[in-house]
């Protein structure tokens, strides 16, 4: 089950149960993201790769990362231990689309927390469907 999805960058959107712990996990995952951002792969096919893959496994969670071209980071924390990369990629792609739609709202202030209800619903739908497809 996905327990946490976070958008980190200029924005932050968190959907979580045990907020503080997940805050920590997401916060820590940025170390890995930073490292990948600062040491970009020079090789061709991975040049425009947005999916960062498994960032690190912690205790009961697996943390996946995704980095958009504008350096907005999506972090996915899941308790599923056997996750297929394809699923995660798919999830991130749909999530990215939802995010783009949300920030395209002219009333959204870049840098501010996303407060769209539609976005929240859409994200929870994506999250639910991720749970379905993976099981």
């Amino acid at each position: 089950m996905i327990v946490c999805v976070a958008v980190v960058g200029h924005q932050s959107f968190t959907e979580a149960d045990d907020a503080l712990k997940l805050h920590h996990i997401v916060h820590c995952s940025l170390d890995v993201v930073d490292e990948r951002v600062n040491n970009p792969k020079k090789s061709g096919p991975t040049l425009n790769e947005t999916f960062l893959g498994l960032l690190y496994p912690t205790e009961n969670y697996k943390v996946y990362g995704y980095l958009t071209n504008t350096k907005v980071k999506f972090i996915l924390v899941t308790t599923d231990l056997d996750v297929r990369d394809v699923d995660v990629r798919n999830f991130f792609r749909r999530f990215h689309a939802a995010y783009v739609d949300a920030v395209s709202n002219p009333f959204h202030v870049p840098g501010k927390k996303i407060t769209s209800r539609t976005f929240a619903e859409r994200v929870s739908n994506i999250v639910k469907s991720f749970g379905l497809s993976s099981t």
């Binding site: 503080l20 940025l30 490292e35 690190y56």
Partner: protein
């Protein structure tokens, strides 16, 4: 578990360093740091102390390249149960530190040291170092050579050399002891046990296996000693034997231990030559080590003892090796390698962290987390490091003692950077400060975006608050009030929107409680509340404006004054006063003000004990003030100070004493905060949440301080309050100017500006000039004459409105409408010293004193209405009329009447024989709405040139005063002004000349409108000149007097009939009795009456007022009281002799003609005689006067009625 483990730990000799006697902590630390420098002793250096007693077991000792390593443990450590397993855990030497000045008795020190050494049974070498002995101690200590080593007092460097020698000696002794020990162990064989296998192995082991195992363990231990002795090759040999034996006997634990040792030996051997192959080898071996430690886990005694800590230590060792190893070589910086390595390290550390959960000992877990955090930090994973540091802090906080709390606090302080909540004290030189102090301040927020984001990562507020709260908690527990204060301040300042009012109050009391424990005057780097932002730099109070002087222009003030109604004029561009926006000039010794806005967005009352501007250069004396801020409020306050030295000055912020601690609040921080709030990156804008309006982005001017300038201070003599004047009042005021500066005023110039400039009648230019230079402290009094202006209708409204609201006298004071006196002045143009090099730049600026004259004009006497009245009093016909006719035409001196008023005798007269037919008065209706009494005096000024035939009756003054009229408050009154004075003596074409010229020619050529206009203008001019000669002056009380402005009203009143007023009729008529002087009736009766039934000889006088001969046909009529014609008709009661009708007369210009006739009245009574004439062949002038246009129309002149009283004869 032990802190700071690495693969190399296995080859380090542990030395306990113990303080002996009393050693002050700082001194101890100092000595200990000296020891730390000697952690590695090259084998080559100790050869002089080394004597080979027997054949050394360390056959491959690298005497030239190898070294012995020490690990100093200050205060020692309790013996480990795992000493047998890893010999490096043994404390192999004890060193005492004795600080002689604080430990005078060396004997007791030696005793104490010997006692302390008993705790270290494993110690092979014991030395006590005594530093800084005095002479007697030197003598005394010489006897205890064996234990006590005295260090002669010397400087640090010498001491260091001494210590080095001592350490080399110790290294040599240890080496020799190791040799002994190894030789003994090889020969005798020792029983080596660990807590792990003490019980299990006793009963169920086969003897052979046990022996082999014992042998293996011995080999491993020998290997350990070889490592400690700095001989890796020997160690390797022993380890490989041990490995073989341990593998055979299934002694996994010792196998792993031996493997660790061999890896260490490998690294020691290859010191400084780490490459990928070696790294892979180490990694492989260590993974093996970890595996075997895990294998050695025995379920039976898992409760009591577990090899887990060794497994974790091994993990950490490998991780540390990978971390540090990667940095050594350049080729590893490539991404692939680094990413792979860091991935490995992360995995190792994650495993270690997971494994740490099953650690039994809390201290072990603590050490583990500390190490994990450190390694993550080394790897560059700051956030993870911070996460584990926080775990460490939590473990510390679980221990309920002060030291643990202090540790927790310190560990948390390290995490603050990763969470971006660090105290400013820890940020020594933030790079952002430099970027922002520059001129870029005025730029838009774009540039600082990333800075703001990094400064205020609001998305992590949950984490940040948790960390700060934990710091606060640990600091309170640790009894560190300053840290507690700082944490609470940061929490409150940055997260107040997320904290409940109760929580805010709690933080406030935490701040106060901490402050109570702090000495007064403590400073903290982290500001608490309030938020302080720069509001504005008030420009100089208008009295102190500074104007740049240009040496090229004498009149440097010109153009600098705000002239005209335009705020911006293209002509003033580039003038000095434009620059005042970006540049602010302060003057040494003159107080300045800066407005700042404070906000308290929290739910408690905030008291700022004192706050003042911060200026680091020290060239500024700031005046502190104290402020109270109610909850959720903001306030703009004025901070002031005095610059004390010349040069540029910057004000980065202000210093605030609040919650018992002194903090510095930087304006820039709040600006960034507000910028962040505007972009939605920061939680909230404290000023807006307090209801303060949004402030435009204030550009901070560059402030420069200039040397003292003269300073003129003005005040109005008799009080600086508003000068209250009634409309039209004229008053002299005196303005005192004093030089309050320290430099004389050498130039000064007065000019006027603002509205109603013309109300200042006289300006004392010369008075001011004459007193220059005005020395410091000198004063000059300038007299000014003011005449209050007329209030416009708008002024009235405002005045009325004010009166309604204030309910008072209705005095109105409007700054906008007062005239302003501008006095430009300057000190000496150059200093006397560098007069020769008078440069443009160092010409001190001039100043401008703006002195608004606070004149308050009250509505005074007001003119309600002005109208023209004509009064007709018929004349009596008599014979005693003494005046020549031409004088009759100038009745000015006598025809004054003021109805219902007393008059002066000389002015009352109306000549009864002339009457005053067509007498015109200007009636002014005046009202007095004020609460004082006004006295009105009318004076008429007569132009001497115009009225040359006027009798100048008095003292040659051609001005006539009339008696004063008193108008009480709230009353109105009328004043009559006779206009006869203005009548021209002669009706000629001079008045009409232009008119006629135009008229004559316009009929053909010019447009009539033009001529009309011209006529009108002419008319207006004459009205104006007429009006200007009438002055209505008033006086009220003792010292207010003025003049009523009646021009407009009179103008309208006179508009239509000015011609009648000014111009005489072409003909004037008069009657008189012609009788003999001897007549008895005349003497007995009234001389101006005629008797009935008697012949009354009369003559009619006709005067031609024009300059041309007039031909006319004159007629005389007589009427009785009822108005019936008594001469003609059937019932005529008057008989006549002579011609009464159709008398043809020719009157020469400016002459008069008579026509005699007689009347015989039959009935006594009042009769009226009227003369009338029809002018024949009238010229244009006459026609114009009669206002007839058609040339055919006869011009009819009618004289005034004359009364005849006819007395009865009885």
């Amino acid at each position: 578990m032990e802190p700071d483990v690495s693969i190399e730990t296995s080859c380090m000799i542990r030395i306990a360093v113990l303080p002996v006697g009393t050693v002050p902590a700082s001194v101890l630390r100092d000595y200990f740091s000296m020891f730390l420098r000697h952690h590695t002793i090259p084998l080559a250096a100790i050869s002089s102390f080394y004597t080979e007693h027997q054949k050394s077991p360390f056959a491959h000792q690298p005497w030239d390249a190898g070294s012995i390593r020490f690990k100093f443990l200050l205060g020692g450590a309790p013996p480990s149960p795992w000493e047998d397993f890893q010999s490096n855990r043994k404390i192999l030497a004890v060193i005492g530190i004795c600080h002689c000045p604080s430990t005078p008795d060396l004997d007791s020190a030696v005793e104490q040291f010997t006692a302390a050494c008993k705790n270290y049974s494993s110690a092979l070498v014991q030395r006590c170092f005594a530093f800084c002995p005095c002479d007697s101690q030197l003598e005394d200590g010489g006897k205890k050579e064996d234990v006590l080593r005295l260090f002669p007092p010397a400087d640090h460097q010498t001491l260091d050399i001494h210590l080095q020698t001592m350490m080399q000696e110790i290294a040599a002794s240890l080496l020799m002891d190791f040799e002994k020990w190894v030789l003994k162990a090889e020969s005798a064989g020792t029983i080596l046990k660990t807590p792990l296998d003490s019980q299990a192995s006793l009963s169920s082991e086969e003897v052979l296996k046990a022996k082999k195992r014992r042998l293996g363990r011995a080999q491993k231990t020998i290997g350990d000693y070889c490592l400690l002795a700095g001989s890796p090759v020997d160690a390797s040999a022993h380890y490989s034997t041990a490995l073989e034996l341990a593998r055979l006997t299934g002694d996994f634990f010792w196998y792993a231990g031996a493997l660790e040792g061999s890896v260490c030996a490998l690294l020691m051997d290859r010191v400084g030559h780490v490459d990928v192959v070696l790294e892979d080898e180490v990694k492989y071996q260590y993974n093996n080590v970890i595996l075997h430690y895990r294998k050695s886990f025995i379920q039976d005694n898992a409760q009591r003892v577990s090899p887990l800590s060794f497994e974790l230590e091994a993990t950490l060792k490998l991780a540390r090796f990978l971390c540090s190893g990667t940095d050594d070589t350049a080729f590893k910086s490539s991404y692939l390698c680094r990413s792979k390595l860091s991935k490995d390290v992360v995995e190792l550390l994650t495993n270690a962290a997971d494994g740490g959960k099953s650690l039994i000992d809390v201290n072990d877990r603590l050490v583990l987390f500390v190490e994990i955090a450190r390694l993550f930090g080394t790897l560059g994973y700051q956030r993870k490091a911070a996460f584990f540091s926080r775990q460490v802090a939590q473990l510390y906080l679980q221990q309920d003692n002060k030291f643990a709390a202090t540790s927790a606090m310190q560990v948390l302080a390290m995490t603050t950077k990763a969470y971006r909540v660090q105290s400013k004290a820890s940020v020594s030189d933030p790079p952002c400060t430099k970027k922002q102090t520059g001129p870029s301040h005025t730029d838009s927020g774009k540039m600082h975006h990333h800075l703001i984001v990094s400064l205020f990562e609001s998305q992590w507020s949950t984490l940040q608050m948790v960390v700060l709260r934990e710091i606060l908690l640990s600091a309170v527990r640790a009894g560190d009030p300053l840290t507690a204060w700082s944490a609470a301040a940061r929490l409150l300042r940055q997260y107040y929107p997320l904290i409940t009012p109760a929580g805010q109050n709690g933080l406030a009391s935490a701040l106060n409680n901490s402050a109570e424990r702090l000495p007064s005057g403590t400073r903290s780097a982290d500001p608490a509340l309030p938020f302080v932002r720069l509001h504005s730099f008030p420009l100089h109070p208008s009295q102190m404006d500074i104007i740049k002087r240009s040496p090229a222009r004498e009149d440097w003030w010109a153009g600098s004054a705000p002239s005209g109604p335009f705020i911006y004029t293209p002509f003033s561009k580039g003038e000095p006063n434009d620059n005042s926006k970006q540049e602010l000039v302060w003057i040494v010794g003159e107080p300045v003000q800066v407005l700042v806005e404070l906000a308290n967005p929290c739910a408690f009352d905030l008291r700022v004990d004192s706050m003042y501007l911060t200026v680091h250069s020290g060239s500024f004396d700031a005046f502190p003030i104290s402020v109270d801020l109610p909850p959720n409020s903001s306030k703009v306050i004025t901070l002031s100070g005095i610059p004390t030295s010349v040069g540029p000055i910057t004000i980065p912020g202000c210093t605030v004493h609040c919650f018992g601690v002194i903090t510095e609040h930087h304006f820039r921080d709040v600006d960034n905060l507000l910028l962040g709030a505007a972009q939605g990156l920061v939680l909230s804008d404290p000023f807006r949440s307090c209801g303060s309006a949004k402030l435009r982005n204030l550009s901070v001017p560059s402030i420069s301080v200039v040397p003292p300038l003269p300073l003129l201070v003005s005040h109005v003599v008799g009080g600086d309050g508003a000068i209250i004047l009634y409309e039209g009042e004229i008053r002299d005021i005196w303005i005192s100017l004093a030089n309050a500066g320290t430099v004389p005023v050498e130039q000064a110039h007065i000019s006027l500006s603002g509205k109603n400039q013309d109300s200042i009648i006289s300006i004392p230019y010369e008075t001011l000039k004459s007193v220059l230079p005005l020395k410091p402290g000198a004063e000059v009094i300038l007299p000014l004459t003011l005449k209050a202006w007329q209030l416009g209708p708008m002024d009235f409204e405002i005045g009325g409105g004010r009166a309604a609201t204030s309910g008072s006298t209705g005095r109105q004071f409007k700054n906008a409408s007062v005239p302003t006196l501008l006095i430009h002045y300057a000190g000496p143009s150059t200093d006397s010293e560098d007069a020769t090099i008078a440069k443009v730049s160092n010409l001190p600026p001039g100043r401008r004193l703006v002195l608004p004259l606070h004149v308050c004009v009250l509505p005074g006497m007001s003119l309600v209405k002005a109208r023209l009245l004509s009064m007709e009093i018929p004349a009596h016909i008599g014979d005693g009329h003494p005046k020549p006719v031409h004088e009759e035409e100038d009745p000015a001196s006598e025809t004054v009447e003021e109805s219902d008023r007393k008059m002066e005798k000389r002015l009352v007269k109306i000549d009864p024989y002339r009457g005053s037919w067509g007498l015109r008065f200007l009636e002014l209706e005046l009202s007095n709405p004020t609460d004082v009494v006004f006295e009105i005096g009318v004076s008429v000024q007569l132009d001497g040139t115009d009225d040359n035939n006027l009798p100048i009756d008095q003292d040659g003054n051609s001005e006539y005063g009339y008696p004063k009229t008193r108008i009480d408050r709230d009353y109105s009154a009328r004043v009559l002004i006779p206009l006869e004075h203005f009548k021209l003596p002669v009706l000629d074409d001079s008045f009409f000349m232009r008119e006629f010229c135009n008229e004559g020619s316009t009929s053909s050529s010019r447009s009539p409108s033009f001529s009309e206009k011209n006529t009108k203008a002419e008319l207006n001019a004459s009205i104006k000149s007429l009006i200007s000669r009438i002055k209505v002056r008033w006086q009220s009380g003792r010292n207010s007097s003025g003049e009523l402005n009646i021009k407009d009203a009179v103008h309208t009143a006179l508009q239509t009939s000015v011609m009648d007023v000014l111009l005489p009729d072409p003909l004037t008529f008069g009657f008189r009795l012609t009788r003999d002087n001897s007549s008895p009736q005349q003497e007995s009766g009234s001389k101006d009456s005629v008797l009935a039934n008697d012949m009354a000889p009369m003559e009619v006088l006709v005067r031609n007022n024009t300059k041309e001969m007039i031909k006319m046909s004159l007629g005389i009529s007589c009427r009785d009281v009822a108005g019936e014609n008594c001469i003609e008709g059937g019932k005529s009661t008057v008989l006549w002799a002579g011609v009464l009708n159709g008398i043809t007369m020719e009157v020469p210009p400016l002459q008069e003609s008579k026509h005699s006739f007689s009347l015989y009245f039959l009935v006594p009574g009042e009769y009226t005689l009227v003369a009338a004439a029809v002018i024949e062949d009238a010229n244009d002038v006459l026609r114009a006067r009669a206002k007839t246009d058609s040339p055919d129309e006869p011009i009819y002149c009618r004289g005034p009625p004359f009364h005849v009283r006819v007395l009865g004869t009885a």
